[in-house]
Symmetry: C2
Subunit: 473 residues, 2 copies
Amino acid sequence: MRRLVLAAAVLLALPCAPAIAQTRIPEAALRQAAQLREQALADDTGWKVTESLTTEIGPRIAGSEADARAVAWAKAKFEQLGFDKVWTEPVTFPKWERRAEKAEVLGAHAQPLTITALGGSPGGTVQGEVVRFADLAALQAAPDGSLAGKIAFVDYQMTASRDGKDYGNGGAIRSRGPSAAIRKGAIGYVMRSAGTDSHRVPHTGITRFDEGLAPVPAAALSVPDANQLARLVERGPTRIRIALDCGWDGQATSYNVIGEITGREKPKEVVVIGGHLDSWDLGTGAVDDAAGVGITMAAGHLIGQLGQAPKRTIRVVAFANEEQGLYGGKAYAEAHGKDAADMKRHQIGAESDFGAGRIYAFNTGSANPAASREATAQIAQALAPLGIEYQPGKGGPGPDISPIAAKGAAWAWLAQDGSDYFHLHHTADDTLDKIDPKALAQNVAAYTVFAYLAAEAEGDFGSEFKAVTPPQE
Amino acid sequence: MRRLVLAAAVLLALPCAPAIAQTRIPEAALRQAAQLREQALADDTGWKVTESLTTEIGPRIAGSEADARAVAWAKAKFEQLGFDKVWTEPVTFPKWERRAEKAEVLGAHAQPLTITALGGSPGGTVQGEVVRFADLAALQAAPDGSLAGKIAFVDYQMTASRDGKDYGNGGAIRSRGPSAAIRKGAIGYVMRSAGTDSHRVPHTGITRFDEGLAPVPAAALSVPDANQLARLVERGPTRIRIALDCGWDGQATSYNVIGEITGREKPKEVVVIGGHLDSWDLGTGAVDDAAGVGITMAAGHLIGQLGQAPKRTIRVVAFANEEQGLYGGKAYAEAHGKDAADMKRHQIGAESDFGAGRIYAFNTGSANPAASREATAQIAQALAPLGIEYQPGKGGPGPDISPIAAKGAAWAWLAQDGSDYFHLHHTADDTLDKIDPKALAQNVAAYTVFAYLAAEAEGDFGSEFKAVTPPQE
């Protein structure tokens, strides 16, 4: 077995690869990357940055005063970490605020319920009988008008897994459930949190109301509260009251904060890595996404400390307002993905936004993945000592990279172990103590190796401009 | 080894024991207990009672409307479970209410802090610089007046263990910390929760202000918030604001709810088991102490279902207001421990109030433990198949049994595994999902075996009246 694997590795490394002109990474760069990898594992910059953001700023919902402080923090942090160029780019979006929220069971079993408004919910107080649905399809199948004067309760329990795939269900219940409920006549909407924990910390997250519908108060119950409400509904008709004080309040402007380590040969070509700077307001946004900011700032910093700059520029972006609709990522794609020349300048991009668990898999993608297959395999080999597996054909771009990837930019996928991500995601429990410094350092090592090698490659990863029709909303 | 053990067992069972007249349990009762034990392990009454109380009533702070509903619930539940006599006994106490609570860091690192008022705290809003102390001794050692205008922060992290012994420290910081802080001039008091979890669920619990001191707002931070505040204080002077809306509001009367399975031979002699009916207001009081109510109601029920009643009466007590000062236990001792005749009627007592973890140890105690050594060993032997170890010389009475034990009643100790008890204790996270039904059934089996055998014993466990000087407060 071992012999066969070695033979395959030799084949991949052959200079005279078949038809396609292969992107390759020079031997010297691979040696340098191996050193960087070990150095990053022993370095605590990623931890310190994450600690600083979560401690000094704490919760930083987009458009808030704390968000503005986070922008100033990020700028100062890039400068302290020795980035060559640091700047901000404006990102404008509607501002949503949570002020207070309360829910209770009425009647014979009167008791409080722990809830949190979904982002985008209007304020208001409603009370009515609860109608429970096992999942979104069950709600969608309810007869029209059947929820008149009632409160819909979608009671789907998400399952934890390394790749967090059940968030497909949990996220859809959050984003599409309220509109489905309104169509059936509901005056309010509650859901079992899209989460995998068992604590009294409900999971918020953005929801959207379809055009033409009058929004109703929409909230998530903590998992134990959803269990409780399900038991009460099982016993008989159950009325609850939801009182939300929250809502949209004009427009706000925040900023993508960008730091660069300038490339020595092709300074205008960039490897983009980043995380998002904003968080929800309930926790201190540690796994979502101070960790991503910390990991990628530290990777840029470590590359910047080398005696010789990398061939291309390393651009680290702390994206604005990811949580409410990828506003930072969209603004970035708008500003930096205008045409073919813009796109050619993007060697490849990757965002860290799935917590701080160890990275277990790697891949890259583009419209033309064949061209960079060899370089991808070389990077994978440099990542392998970190316990990272090359998974060709798998993955996709991170959230804030997806808008520019949709325009043709190549992307890399560094898959984090998300087994406990949905214990914490969008809750008050998303705090620094949930991060394992060693796992964080492994992430920094992986991003450092990836970004450095992508910047040193001879050839590109297949970025190619395509005009994109903006999604219909 | 095995031979030796058997020989010892035979010796213990010898009718002609040495000097002391030994309490003994007849063979037929031991056989019956073995059957009851297996039956209880397969029975879900304890679970159903616990589920019913936590679901239908939910949080039930003493003196609240929910507490009154809990009293009615307990009475009805005893009746449903076939107890022969069911009644209530009034318990009067000062009523404390929590209405709202909020805290925040002020200034450059402005952010909310998750806190909860300690029971007994006055309301009020204070703001000032935080002075951190590693433990209660450090606070007590601070110079007089050194906290003038400041907020004391005692930042002791409790350690989890099976017997929960570090609650000695955590509990003292809660009960004695506020008064110590006031003596140094503090205008407010915060503590790291007396807890072992890492969630945003602060731990409440009663505190007391020493006579002659003007109470100040006193609250507990969740463990992650205490971490956060400690990091901020480490960075430099940190000001916080605490706003509590809570306080004492006159007197309230609740009830000890009592159910009996009447004894066939000595109906006036009682084996008392129980839990407490009240809970704190944050969670649904599942491990503290619906489980105790469920375990002991189920044990009484199972004994009551036997074809033949036990020799003595099994009395199950759902005690009122344990949380704020053992009011139910004290009222019980007052009503049922007036004199030697009263005390002689108390064969032995045990309360389940340390969660729902498996019982791992057993012992009994009294002023005259030698008299019941044989019966205790016999009960221990009947409990051994449940994984319970006989630990002579260890343990003590449960909280609500302690007032009557102080007057001379014999007590039993059925030690529960409390490794995760202080993850949940007095928090919003104390909900039904934290209880393992199998562990709960093991508890029911243990209480059933113990109560039945104590009721069947020939002889007593050493109860003997002593006049008690009420504790000075």
